[in-house]
């Protein structure tokens, strides 16, 4: 039982990270109607920036987080302006290829700047794990622990989701985003600055990516290398689709469910086929319910 609860906590932990990444995907997809393939690599850049601030400059982790968030926000806006904006009228194929190109561009730039050997991310929060439960069975002590970083990860994920929901529903910019997401042309006619709205979306998405990158490396102990972000990025996209792309609670739900399924699958089915498992879910979801758990039905216009 304790073992199961441990898996559950770890699943929630990784699931929260997926959720934060998925929020970024879902926002961009909802507003700009494009799959930002480079999102996973923005995560990596965010983690690297935080690492630099922490390890090279020796500053406090909070400053590192701020630095990474600011850096990634700028990066996100730059990517959008330089690579995606000129292609707003182009086919989705062209946009997707550009996004893939951008993803590889970031990876290779990171490799040139920081080298391809892996780095070990410093712990951003100190403190001993809290022992929730302890039993002795057949001479083996089993403990259920919750480390501070786990609490931080889950809490930040939850706070981010609530803040984002409020932002989308209560602010003027949020309203503009919803509007652009519904109909770009109509939004423009209503006097909404579409380009600005999309830029803001990218900025928020990238800021979230920076947070996600730090959480990924700090609470899941991912080694920091130029390819750190690619697999979690794809998995988080799976989570976004799972929850219903474009929907913020959906991304959250999808992320956490995916984390749980992945971890429990690894523990009870097969640790060898864990990745196949996750991708299998994506395929099944897309075939059975393409709009995801909480997604809206999209009508095709002729």
């Amino acid at each position: 039982m304790i073992t199961f609860l441990t898996y559950l906590i770890n699943g929630l932990n990784i699931g929260s990270v997926y959720a934060v990444i998925a929020l970024g995907y879902t926002m961009v997809y909802g507003v700009a109607k494009m799959l930002n393939f480079a999102h996973g690599d923005v995560i990596m850049v965010g983690a690297f920036l935080a690492y630099c601030v922490c390890a090279y400059l020796g500053l406090h982790p909070i400053i590192a987080v701020l630095g990474a968030v600011i850096g990634c926000t700028i990066l996100g806006i730059l990517i959008e302006r330089l690579a995606y904006k000129p292609l707003r009228q182009a086919t989705s194929l062209a946009v997707l290829i550009t996004a893939i190109g951008m993803s590889y561009f970031l990876q290779n730039m990171a490799q040139l700047i920081w080298g391809s050997d892996t780095k070990s991310f410093p712990s951003i929060i100190q403190g001993d794990a809290i022992v929730l439960f302890k039993t002795v069975q057949d001479g083996v002590t089993k403990t259920l622990t919750l480390s501070p970083i786990n609490i931080l990860t889950m809490a930040s994920c939850f706070i981010i989701m609530i803040a984002l929901t409020l932002f989308i529903n209560k602010t003027k910019m949020g309203k503009a985003m919803r509007c652009v997401s519904e109909d770009k042309g109509a939004a423009e006619l209503m006097g909404i600055n579409v380009n600005l709205t999309i830029s803001v979306t990218f900025a928020i998405g990238s800021a979230l990516a920076a947070v996600a990158g730090i959480l990924l490396c700090a609470s899941n102990y991912a080694p920091l290398s130029p390819t750190t972000g690619s697999l979690p990025g794809i998995k988080a996209f799976t989570a976004a689709v799972f929850g219903g792309i474009g929907s913020i609670p959906g991304a959250m739900l999808g992320g956490i469910l995916l984390g749980l399924i992945e971890n429990l699958g690894k523990a009870y089915v097969s640790s060898e086929l864990a990745d196949a498992f996750v991708f299998g879910i994506l395929i099944v979801v897309l075939l059975v319910k393409p709009t995801g758990l909480l997604g809206k039905k999209i009508h095709e216009k002729v």
């Binding site: 292609l87 290829i97 590889y104 490799q111 040139l112 086929l273 196949a276 991708f279 395929i283 897309l286």
Partner: protein, 406 residues
């Protein structure tokens, strides 16, 4: 000779020239017409000619011992990459679906191809009727093994392509891309758990997902899960077979594009709804392109695997799929000749510029992004147009200046 005579002669001469020209003009116009009408066929023929010429050039260099070992070692992989690029171009360029799982089909082909060739190596001893049949016909048995393994690889990759195609082709755009990616990774993940051994005496195959199930006696383990394919030597892939596969691929793909089916595939790409309302079965045509592409990718995989005694599964990861996509996009979407050239150049270039290897992928992706921006962005397009106009004007002015000066 006075001035008048001179005039007449010049006159006559000009006339004669004109007459000659009119005679010449007729064929020229006709040639122009033929070219316009059969533009595609001519480009296609040119592609074949180029490949064949390249083949003879390489062969003569090898004969003359002028070719470096490093280039010679790359000939077969280049052929495999050309086939991969051309086949991916069929899906991405002609059918308009972005597939990111091409390396997965390549892997299926590599595995099944190697299984077929290893089975034949041990199942048919030198006394068997099958072996003697080819021996009598003076055909090298390695060649037979290679060809059969290519066919097997193609068939299996095609079947996998069909199975994957059923769900995948119901999706569109970004979803399709990400699902092909997912399938590619699933194939790789499953294949990394597969162990295959062959009985050295009877040729019986033993498949398992658990390494310890393999009886060690008499069995040769040649697909070792995570290690990938090992001990697949001596290699049976040759440059001749590689070029043969390239020509075969070109034949299939180019004829498909030119056919009624090909036009239907393009119609489905350009406007799905219009094509549907014209009564075209969109899924069917997309499936034809997808399966053909998977089939050819499988063959390329078999060729590739037969050339290296050891192939690791990480070779068939998403990175390879992207690399092939780079070949296709830089060669021009839908442009077969372009794929052939870009696959060749982009495979050779990094070897020639080993010192700059760190920058290779970076340069590729920058060029990839720029290509996309240039060909698709109205702003950049108009910018380039303006530059062209400006250049034209500049040249025109220069020319008139030159003319005025002279």
């Amino acid at each position: 000779m006075n001035q008048k005579h001179k005039m007449t002669i010049t006159h006559l001469f000009t006339h004669a020239l004109e007459i000659c020209e009119s005679f010449l003009r007729q064929p020229r116009i006709m040639a122009e017409k033929i070219y316009q009408k059969h533009k595609m066929t001519i480009t296609h023929l040119f592609t074949y000619a180029l490949v064949i010429c390249a083949y003879f050039a390489c062969q003569s260099m090898i004969k003359a011992e002028k070719m470096t070992l490093s280039l010679e070692g790359q000939l077969v992989p280049i052929c495999a990459y050309i086939v991969l690029a051309v086949s991916l171009n069929l899906t991405v360029g002609i059918s308009g679906e972005l597939s990111l799982g091409h390396a997965g089909f390549m892997y299926v082909g590599a595995i099944t191809g190697v299984i077929a060739s290893m089975w034949m190596r041990y199942a048919f001893t030198e006394e068997s009727a099958f072996f003697l049949f080819f021996e009598n016909m003076n055909i090298d048995f390695a060649l037979v093994r290679m060809l059969i393994s290519l066919i097997v690889a193609g068939v299996f990759a095609g079947i996998v392509g069909f199975i994957i195609g059923i769900p995948v082709l119901r999706l569109r755009g970004d979803y399709l891309a990400i699902v092909t990616l997912a399938f590619g990774e699933i194939i790789r993940n499953i294949m990394t758990c597969l162990y295959v051994a062959v009985n050295k005496k009877t040729g019986a195959l033993n498949f398992t997902f658990n390494n310890s199930d393999i009886p060690s006696k008499d069995f040769k383990l040649f697909i070792k899960g995570p290690t990938g394919i090992t001990g697949n030597s001596p290699k049976i892939a040759t440059f001749v077979i590689g070029i043969g596969l390239v020509l075969f691929t070109l034949l299939i793909v180019q004829n498909l594009i030119n056919s009624r089916t090909g036009r239907a595939i393009k119609a489905c790409r350009d406007n799905r709804i219009a094509a549907e309302s014209m009564g075209l079965n969109v899924t069917k045509y997309k499936m034809i392109a997808f399966v053909t592409s998977a089939c050819l990718a499988g063959m390329a995989g078999a060729l590739y695997a037969a050339n290296f005694s050891s192939v690791v599964p990480s070779k068939f990861s998403i990175d390879t799929s992207i690399l092939i996509l780079v070949f296709v996009v830089l060669g021009g979407l839908g442009n077969i000749l372009g794929s052939v050239i870009s696959a060749t150049v982009l495979t050779l270039l990094p070897e020639l510029l080993r010192e700059f290897d760190d920058y290779r992928m970076l340069v590729y992706v920058v060029v990839l992004i720029l290509t996309m921006l240039i060909t698709n962005s109205p702003i950049v397009k108009s910018l380039i147009g303006a530059i062209k106009e400006g250049a034209k004007k500049l040249f025109a002015r220069k020319n008139t200046e030159n003319g005025a000066n002279s």
